[in-house]
Symmetry: none
Subunit: 143 residues, 2 copies
DNA sequence: TAGATTGTGGGGAAAAGTGGGGGATAAATA
DNA sequence: TATTTATCCCCCACTTTTCCCCACAATCTA
């Protein structure tokens, strides 16, 4: 399970180090892709394949299915870590997530997310106030 | 499985290089045809044949079936890669997809899509904002 | 404080993409 | 039918990008 928050830099060549703690779980081969709030999702292969299977069950004749599949699959890249434990992030993803230098890597249970530091701070502070409302509607019964 | 996004140029002769990563999957012979959002679909032969079988099961007495089959089949061209790994795109398809120079080739699971770069950017940015909503309604249960 | 682990940066070889020239084949016209 | 014109491919060469390796810096640990 992925938990925690790490601050790393992405260099000029688009490389960013995966925290060693996460490498133990991910291994050397995994998948990264576009995430919904302009961040990058990092999935172990199994988890990614599971989502792909679900997406492939949707017909390409449906507009929303095409859009989301395109969004999710076109952003995807099979990663093999280099010997220093870094990911080479493809430039479309760097642009999408607006990564410049300072990045945040956070664990969210079944995946990691890579954020531009500034964007992450903004997102967090923007929903800190709403968190009470957000939580309100998550479950109907006691969890 | 086709994933990822590549930016290549189509030259004056209508040739565009297929990313080497995809060539491994496609081989030298495959099919391209009109895609739904004014892009070009690229299918391995097997996948294309499968879709054709599905289309042939639709009755030609239905107007929509006739229209879609005509759209899909009339655009189709059997491709043989040249020795540099490039496709010669027929001019009707170049016109249909509005290809000028900069193109984007994206993997969307079972096929590739070739887009004019500008058109692709517009499409993506137009649905970036909605992606959250689109994702919201794709599945009812946990996937 | 010494050693190991983790993160950062850069240089160089190999691969991939791009563009243009030329020859063969097919089509068009007189 | 002969000549011209156009089209299609193949080949070569250049440029750009990617990947792999090495080296250093910073941090943590014993």
């Amino acid at each position: 399970m992925f938990i925690g928050e790490f601050h790393h830099n992405i260099d000029d060549k688009g490389r960013i180090a995966i925290p060693s703690k996460y490498r133990e779980i991910l291994g050397n081969n995994f998948v990264i892709t576009r995430g919904i709030e302009h961040c990058i999702y990092v999935y172990p292969n199994d988890t990614f394949n599971h989502i792909v299977t679900k997406l492939e069950s949707l017909p390409f004749t449906k507009k929303d299915a095409r859009a989301f599949t395109r969004f999710f699959m076109s952003g995807a890249t099979a990663i093999e870590l280099d010997k220093q434990g870094r990911v080479n992030v493809p430039s479309p993803l760097i642009n999408y997530a607006n990564l410049s230098k300072k990045c945040v890597i956070v664990g969210t249970g079944d995946r990691l997310e890579i954020w531009d530091e500034e964007a992450f701070n903004e997102f967090m502070s923007s929903c800190n106030d709403e968190m009470s409302d957000i939580a309100e509607n998550l479950f109907e019964e006691k969890i």
